[in-house]
């Protein structure tokens, strides 16, 4: 076969367009941009946030679709074609340096998002996301509004829950430090409140807990656990001062179960996220022991009711006596 100029030019174009017809033409003729069950239109502010998301290259680190095989935050809903109806451009993304954001709306509170955009390490110490504080406050608000809209109607349900509980949490906080903790404890299901930490607070366990604390907690709750980390000025109610818990042990004894539940479940409405996707039982119990020992000077680890000790447990005796009753507040 001889390549003449005409054969080359006409042939190259013909094969190209025939091939292209299959991959672009056919989908254009057959794919419909019909909204899915969770789809809703974006508000003007959210649309402005979407423009900022596109302009600033958020999509190079965040994807916008959940796959069948995903476990991470947002994985409750597998992406459907109609989720993207009318979005221009709907950038699905090719990289997850940060988490997928397609269902991020309402996962975190609004104030958490403001702190996070100002400097991601305020809320997430291990983050490598750039700080966006060179954007105006209005722009950060728009960006946060867009992120809070991701997930459509599902996000709206979550956002509504966030805002309802935020109102109650703020009211409790306004009632004073001790009233606040009483309110917080009251939200924890009864079974968890009288549950001691079943696992020993050994040196190794405390070390592991410390590592988790430094990776996930330290910039809200601060290195000394007083809740004055760099994120604090952004958050309302502010992060909890753990040291006060010493005078709020349940029956002057129990705190492990409360720690476990609050870490696992988060406190929706406040900036405290749930960590059940990030941490499994061993890490949460270790962290609970670390918080208790470091900031309360007391842990209920291995106290009654303790059940049958797990086979790995050594002969660890809890050296921490409960605080004296009627401590001055």
């Amino acid at each position: 076969m001889k390549m003449t100029p005409a054969f080359l030019i006409v042939g190259a174009l013909l094969v190209f367009w025939a091939s292209t017809f299959i991959i672009v033409g056919l989908p254009s003729m057959t794919m419909k941009d019909t909204p899915s069950d969770i789809w809703r239109p974006l508000s003007p502010l959210e649309r402005e946030g979407h423009r900022l998301y596109v302009k600033n290259g958020c999509s190079y680190c965040h994807s916008l679709f959940i796959r069948v095989s995903d476990w991470d935050v947002g994985a409750e809903r597998i992406a459907r074609a109609g989720d993207y109806a009318g979005i221009e451009p709907a950038i699905l993304g090719s990289e997850r340096t940060g988490p997928d954001l397609s269902q991020e709306g309402g996962e975190h509170s609004d104030d958490w998002n403001m702190a996070h955009f100002t400097n991601p390490r305020y809320t997430t110490p291990v983050s490598v996301m750039p700080a966006w504080d060179f954007l105006t406050r209005h722009e950060i608000t728009a960006l946060a509004a867009y992120v809070q809209s991701l997930g459509g109607k599902d996000a709206d349900v979550r956002q509504k829950r966030q805002r309802e509980w935020k109102r109650q949490a703020q009211a409790a906080y306004a009632g004073g430090v001790d009233r606040n903790i009483e309110w917080l404890h009251a939200q924890v299901p009864e079974v968890w409140r009288r549950m001691p930490n079943p696992y020993p607070a050994t040196q190794a366990a405390l070390q592991r807990g410390k590592r988790i604390y430094q990776q996930l907690c330290i910039n809200c709750h601060s290195p000394i656990g007083d809740g004055n980390g760099p994120a604090q000025p952004f958050l309302g109610p502010p992060p909890l001062n753990f040291t006060i818990l010493r005078r709020h042990l349940v029956e002057n004894r129990y705190i492990g179960g409360i720690f476990y539940y609050q870490i696992m479940n988060g406190i929706t409405g406040t900036a405290m996220p749930y960590f059940k996707k990030h941490l499994e039982s061993e890490k949460i119990w270790d962290l609970a022991n670390y918080l208790a020992v470091s900031f309360l000077g007391y842990t209920d680890a291995n106290t009654e009711p303790r059940g049958i000790d797990a086979s790995y447990e050594g002969n660890w005796q809890n050296p921490y006596p409960p605080p004296a009753v009627n401590q001055a507040p």
Binding site: S19, G57, F65, D72, P89, I91, R96, V128
Partner: protein, 461 residues
């Protein structure tokens, strides 16, 4: 001034020099990006240097600026040379040069300040798109009319690729960039991802690949002084490439809710890509068979053959990566970044550099300043890129396996930092390689200075 725009091969040289400059610019932005993945607070509060803005500058400058520009320059030399004629119009090639580089320039000047369409590989704003299409149109006219005015009856395989590159790009680019929507450059809804990845994959496949293949087909037989192994294989490689390549963009969104038949088409054709790639590589390999020493001992040809080796590695990895089973682990993480680097810097970049060094003395009528510096560049980039590829592939496997096993992105992030540190360190070698190349180019092309003998004399004294 106007005379220099008529000087034969001046545009080819300009494209090659611009490519070498863009290589340095792209590598600097790559370096910043790599540092930011290690230390996100490095140079804080500098809006143009946040990761989301510097990454597209890096990627586009490397793709269009370094690899694309340099390979066009090489082609503008071999096109008339192989056709035993002159380029139809040198000034028209200069016009293409101006528009092409304006587009590339809009990356560092635009993206850094938020002027971007934000779609990966399709970021250039509409005006820059127009500028690129004008450049491509000029190159089509120039190439076609040079072919018409040829004095060599036969069209060598490099000519096919060079001509076809621009025909395809002129069709591809406006389609993938959705140029009929100037404001967003996007289609509404999910279908946009198909347009996006249509060009997203055709950019390496139908712009860089044919340019690089054409350049390799030009350089290897010249250096080995052997005839091309097989005309039939050349034909097969060429037609398979175009028949299959445009179909495979879908494998970038394989796990998204696009129609299943599209996923099937993109996986099947991705795997089939092994055909054109092996054909090209076998053809070049057999051309050089028995004369490997000539290739190895010629620094520019060593780079070109290095590029061919990266090509076969990339294009075995690529089809495997398109398999849904493997993608469960390799998608969304640094594995893909490793792949992209061996494709663009390994395959496209090595061949661009090698062909540029090969063509440079022919265009400038001066010997290359230093072959040792070419070898140094080869060594630096080979060390940097090989390490880079290994480190990122490992990081990707760590990420993908952990995620697949239920670990969250956030929890795996701290595990990546040693890999990111190594990646940044290896990036220094690539950046140094680009600087060594630019220096070598400058030293080759600089006007001879009158005082030089005097200096030498002083040294001797």
């Amino acid at each position: 001034m106007t005379k220099s725009f008529h000087k034969p091969q001046s545009a080819a040289l300009a494209f090659m020099v611009a490519g070498a400059v863009w290589f340095v610019v792209g590598a600097v932005y790559g370096m910043f990006s790599a540092i930011h993945l290690v230390a996100p607070e490095f140079l804080p509060h500098v809006a143009p240097l946040v990761f989301g803005r510097e990454r597209p500058v890096h990627v586009n400058t490397m793709l269009y600026g370094f690899t694309g520009t340099m390979l066009v320059g090489v082609g503008l030399y071999y096109l008339p040379a192989l056709l035993k004629t002159r380029l139809w119009s040198e000034p028209l090639a200069w016009i293409a040069f101006a528009f092409w580089n304006l587009t590339v320039l809009s990356g560092p000047l635009g993206f850094a300040f938020g002027y971007t369409q934000g779609r990966e590989y399709n970021e250039y704003v509409w005006l820059a798109d127009v500028s690129l299409v004008i450049a491509v149109a000029c190159l089509i006219v120039n190439t076609a009319l040079t072919i018409v005015n040829r004095r060599e009856p036969q069209l060598y395989v490099s000519i096919w690729y060079f001509m076809a590159t621009f025909l395809w790009t002129a069709s591809n680019y406006p389609l993938g960039n959705v140029m009929w929507h100037p404001a967003t450059g996007a289609m509404p809804g999910l279908i946009d991802s198909l347009f996006l990845w249509f060009w997203g994959h055709n950019l390496p496949g139908l712009l860089i690949t044919p340019l690089a293949t054409g350049a390799a087909y030009f350089v290897i037989p010249r250096v080995t002084r052997t005839p091309l192994n097989s005309h039939t294989l050349s034909l097969l490689g060429f037609w398979f490439l175009i028949a299959l390549y445009s179909h495979i963009g879908g494998h970038h969104v394989l796990q998204s809710p696009i129609p299943n038949w599209l996923k099937t088409v993109s996986v099947v054709d991705s795997v089939s890509m092994v055909l054109p790639v092996s054909i090209v590589v076998i053809n070049l390999w057999l051309t050089a068979r028995g004369f490997g020493g000539r290739v190895w001992n010629d620094p520019p040809a060593r780079l070109v053959m290095g590029g061919v080796v990266w090509y076969i590695i990339t294009c075995i990895q690529g089809p495997l990566q398109s398999l849904p089973f493997l993608q469960r682990v390799t998608h969304f993480n640094n594995w893909t970044i490793g792949h992209a680097h061996i494709a663009m810097l390994g395959f496209g970049g090595y061949i661009a550099l090698g062909a540029m060094w090969h063509v440079l003395p022919l265009v400038s009528r001066r010997p290359v300043y230093s072959n040792k510096l070419i070898n140094l560049q080869f060594g630096l980039i080979t060390f940097g890129l090989t390490g880079f590829f290994v480190v990122l592939t490992m990081a990707g496997l760590v990420q993908g396996s952990a995620w697949h096993n239920g670990e969250t992105v956030l929890r795996v992030l701290p595990q990546l930092s040693p890999f990111m540190v190594m990646r940044a360190a290896l990036g220094i070698f690539i950046l140094t390689g680009s600087l060594v190349g630019l220096a070598n180019l400058y030293l080759t092309l600089r006007p001879a200075r009158a005082e030089e003998p005097l200096l030498r004399g002083e040294e001797a004294a």
